[in-house]
Amino acid sequence: MNLQNITLVSFGYFEKDLLEKTAEAVRQEFHGIVNVREGHIDLSEFYDPARRQYNGNGLLKQVDALSFPDTIKTLGLFNVDLFIPILTFIFGQAFLGGRTGIASLYRFSNERYGMTGNELLMLDRFKKEVIHELGHTFGLIHCHNPTCVMRSSTYVEDIDQKEQQFCLHCRGNLETLTGGFLAE
């Protein structure tokens, strides 16, 4: 059994190209096998009509309950507006050092901010968020390096400031946390 597999599970409609490019970015950063699957969840269960958003905590638990063979980490991909009770929105979240995370594409398109659409920028943001949340599942915490993908981002503009790679410090931590299997 190959325990190095990372599975990206899409819930809802995603462009195939976007999923492939995201998977490729994850592959490059984690040096592992990355599978992309389609998942099905009744999202209405997690919809909060008062906030008109989807409960991120509930979705994270739901994805965590799914099991995929040969998979060490699972990341649920959504295209809905996520929230957690204490915060007005989240881009994604994960169990620190756990096996599951979620990320949403919803707030990454420029149009949501009254700006001209930019597919490439949206893809870049999504890739960074997916890698960031996967980093948490491997036990990485937020990094103070402004260009590290593990830098905390509360606005999309913050995401644009960072790279989609781990800084040397976080990469070192990642290798320690994973027992070195990510090292090429």
């Binding site: 905590n57 929230f83 957690i84 009770p85 204490i86 915060l87 007005t88 929105f89 989240i90 979240q93 994960a94 169990f95 620190l96 948490h136 915490i141 937020h142 905390s152 509360t154 606005y155």
Partner: protein, 448 residues
Amino acid sequence: MAKKISILVVDDEESVRDSLYSWFIEDGYRVECAENAKKALTILESDQFDIVLADIKMPGMDGLEMLRRIKAHKHDSIVIVMTAFATVDTAVKALKDGAFDYVTKPFDPDDLTHLIRNATKQISLAEENETLKQKVVTLENVEDLIGNSDAMKNVLREVESVAQTNSSVIITGESGTGKELVARAIHANSPRKFFPFVSVHCGALTESLLESELFGHEKGAFTGAMYNRKGRFEMADSGSIFLDEIATISTKMQVELLRVLESKTFIRVGGNKEISSDFRVICATNKDLKNMVEKGLFREDLFYRLNVVNIHIPPLRNRIEDIPLLVDYFIRKYCTSMNKPPIPIDQAAMNRLQEFNFPGNIRELENMIERAIVVGDGKKIRLKDLPLEKTILTTSAESLDDFEKTFILQILTKYNWNISRTAKALKVDRVTLYHKIKKYDLKPADQQ
């Protein structure tokens, strides 16, 4: 390596606790959660947290009550309160009770980040402040406490050792020996030095005035009390209160004082709210309190409460070796304040000062030097500039001859060795005066 900031999340909603827990853990903080205020207070008894993030509305004890209890236990705790229903009243109440900030749920991720960043900044500033305070401890001196005598060195040693404690101190010594200076030195070298040193001269106030002075009063407490007024105990919060002439306070005030010292709480005159204040008490007296206790004039329990440490300042006549140092210090002090260059003192004047018994102690010496600088010629302090003639009887003359010698020399000095004027002042003829000068081998100061 920087210290890991710790956060205690207190909220009755599990989802809120979990969300905040995950968020803070991902940010690298140490986090613990409590589902109610009671549990949070129990956790805080055994563990310390840099930041407490608490919901206001919780079943049982609410967040505001918890805030008050946390602050009473550790006044510099950083407590941030959260609420789902923000009202100006609760916000003001929370901030008045010492909350660091106040936020409405749910908040933007960026607000949460900023909130914690600000609190973290506050913590590091407080730590930096503490470090700096500890660094300057070694720089603190007691420059106003002058003396190289064994007696004075002993006082300085006692000041140094007692300063670091919180014990009550009684400073005894004759009037004018510098009891307040010693009290200030204790305060200036104590961990309380960045907080007020409040001085109260108990002997100068009537019983009712002293009560109002110490405890403060509420508006309308008595005729003329138009506004609320803070008492000295309240003003001395975190600092030291110096009660001078403690032996003069009435029996009623002794009872009040004992109660305040034991509970560190009091009520303003005309008020009903209990106020607490964390002060250190330093007292001074020129009376023998032990003797007063034996005679029933001073409460024994109060005496023992105050007399944890006793520092006795010897009178100046018992440490005459300190007089030159003190004279030099006062010359520099007053010449500087009068914008004059420091002037020397005539040896005869210094000798005479060392013979004098100074019933008024250092205060008397200080006044003499100040006067001499004012009335003198500005070049040198001479014997004639010192007001010693009226107190000649207090010199150390042991025989009639000694006394006569000292007295004649003083009058000669006063009249600049003008024989006729001196003889006239002494009501003797010039021949008799010459005879006495020869007999006692008297010479002008500059020829000695």
